[in-house]
């Protein structure tokens, strides 16, 4: 079960994705926890970095998205999903505010 905090974080991440991509198809595209950045959204790395930077700016120093990514294997990076990113952010921000 995901907590309200996790759900809010997921919604915020999805919002940032839609705003960054800003193309006609993404308005109606279902973005869920399991949606993958590479395979499903076809995001280029530069776009992913923009989304990460926007989220980083939103949450400030409580997050270290780039450090989190650098601990991943190439297989994990390829399969990275919206839920993976949202869960990391939710965990990092919950610990920090607790």
């Amino acid at each position: 079960m995901s907590s309200p905090h996790q759900e809010q974080t997921l919604a915020l991440v999805i919002d940032h994705i839609r705003n960054t991509v800003n193309e006609d198809w993404i308005t109606d595209y279902d973005i869920e926890r399991g949606t993958r950045f590479n395979d499903d959204l076809e995001l280029e790395s530069i776009e992913f970095v923009k989304i990460a930077e926007a989220l980083q700016a939103h949450y400030g120093t409580r997050l270290a998205i780039i450090d989190w990514l650098s601990g991943k294997s190439i297989h994990e990076l390829i399969g990275l999903s919206v839920g993976d990113l949202a869960d990391y952010i939710a965990a990092a921000t919950e610990t920090a505010s607790a």
Binding site: E23, W25, I26, D39, E42, E44, I46, L77, I78
Partner: protein, 392 residues
């Protein structure tokens, strides 16, 4: 007169520049031989080419195994399922071929590291041919470390430990890149190697391809739409979207390099061909929509053509970014683009003078670069440096 052994993978984008370089070396009187996967490449080489098959005892046809993957996953699979298996299986046959032909110099495509390992083991002077400038860039510490790990495993099975290096794929003697530094940009640091940037190969060596030139009208704006040889048959969605967009732009004519089965669906201003004389066609068009394959990008830019880049896999996202950063192209998301978006992008492509201006600025450098002739001179020069030869 030098004896020069070429080894390239069975991929069109890697073969074509090598053909042009070999052509220039042959014209200069050098003796060229090819160590290649002959079942796939024999009919693409000159009829009198001296060919040593690498696949005499290799039953596999080494196609791209996962044509559907995209992005970083294709980079991983290209290594794991294509480059490394080919490298391992060619090591012993190529070593035997090399001992038999006794080249003064080896010319090894960057994506055929088996050739690099044999040149290193035998202590021969050798040059690396790099057909995509994405290969020479440091991308991210994570990806770079993974690539080094892949090469480590490959070397451990063949080279004595004292010959093992972090990046065996780059020749310490000469690395010839078919691009220019102005297109490469400064976004990423480069892997350390002795580079010579020669621009697109230019010279030919390609076989003539028939084309209905009379179909092109004098009073239209013209586009070439191509996803390259690897992705042409990937799926038809992209081409269907392009046709839907182009149907609403009757003043534009477009040639789509796509499966001929789509011809029945094509509006009157779209011509479907499954193979085209790309260089001659580029001389006739006003813009290009492509996958940002390195050769297509350099060939189009050297004619000052602006483009829409719809990268899919391998090096394409990196090359697409170079074109966009240079101000000569617009981004299109290959698997998501809608007819409305495509129509709007095509409109922008043809109506934004700065795109063509930047393409023309890059064209000056690309045209001034020495191409296959310059590459041939670099290679011939290696033959005159006996100090590079390590063992008898």
């Amino acid at each position: 007169m030098a004896r020069i052994l070429f080894t390239v993978p069975p991929l069109t984008g890697h073969l074509n520049p090598a053909l042009a370089v070999a052509d220039a070396l042959t014209a200069a009187g050098h003796k060229v031989a090819w160590a290649v996967h002959a079942r796939q490449l024999r009919d693409k080489l000159p009829p009198r080419a001296h060919v040593y098959p690498l696949d005499a005892e290799d039953p596999d046809d080494h196609g791209i195994v996962h044509p559907q993957v995209r992005g970083l996953e294709s980079v991983r699979l290209f290594f794991e399922d294509y480059t490394l298996p080919i490298a391992e299986r060619m090591l012993l046959p190529l070593e035997a071929i090399t001992r038999s032909f006794q080249p003064d110099v080896m010319v090894v495509d960057h994506q055929l590291p088996g050739g690099a390992l044999v040149a290193r083991k035998l202590g021969l002077p050798w040059a690396t041919l790099v057909t995509t400038s994405a290969s020479i860039l440091k991308m991210s510490p994570l990806l770079d470390a993974w690539v080094e790990g892949q090469y480590q495993t490959l070397q451990a099975r063949y080279l004595p430990p004292e010959l093992t290096v972090a990046r065996p794929d780059f020749s310490p003697h000469r690395v010839i890149v078919f691009s220019t530094e102005s297109l490469l940009g400064t976004q990423h640091a480069r892997i350390d190697a002795p580079y010579t940037f020669v621009g697109p190969a230019k010279g030919d060596g390609r076989r003539p391809v028939a084309f209905p030139w009379e179909w092109l009208k004098p009073d239209t704006r013209k586009l070439l739409v191509s996803l390259g040889t690897v992705s042409r048959d990937r799926d038809t969605r992209f081409f269907e979207v392009m046709m839907a967009a182009l149907a609403e732009l009757p003043a534009v004519q477009a040639v789509l390099v796509a499966p001929e089965s789509l011809a029945a669906l094509a509006p009157p201003n779209v011509l479907i061909r499954d193979y085209v004389p790309q260089l001659e066609l580029l001389d006739q068009v006003d813009g290009v929509i492509c996958h940002a394959g390195h050769n297509t990008v350099c060939e189009a830019l050297s004619r000052g053509l602006p483009m829409i880049v719809a990268p899919i896999r391998d090096d394409q996202p990196v090359i697409a970014r170079q074109v966009i950063d240079a101000g000569a192209g617009l981004f299109m998301r290959h698997g998501k683009v809608t007819p409305a978006m495509a129509k709007s992008l095509i409109g922008q492509l043809l109506a934004t003078p700065s795109l063509a201006e930047n393409a023309q600025r890059l064209a000056q450098d690309l045209r001034a670069a020495p191409g296959a002739q310059g590459a041939a001179e670099c290679i011939a020069a290696l033959a005159l440096q006996p100090a590079l030869r390590k063992v008898a």
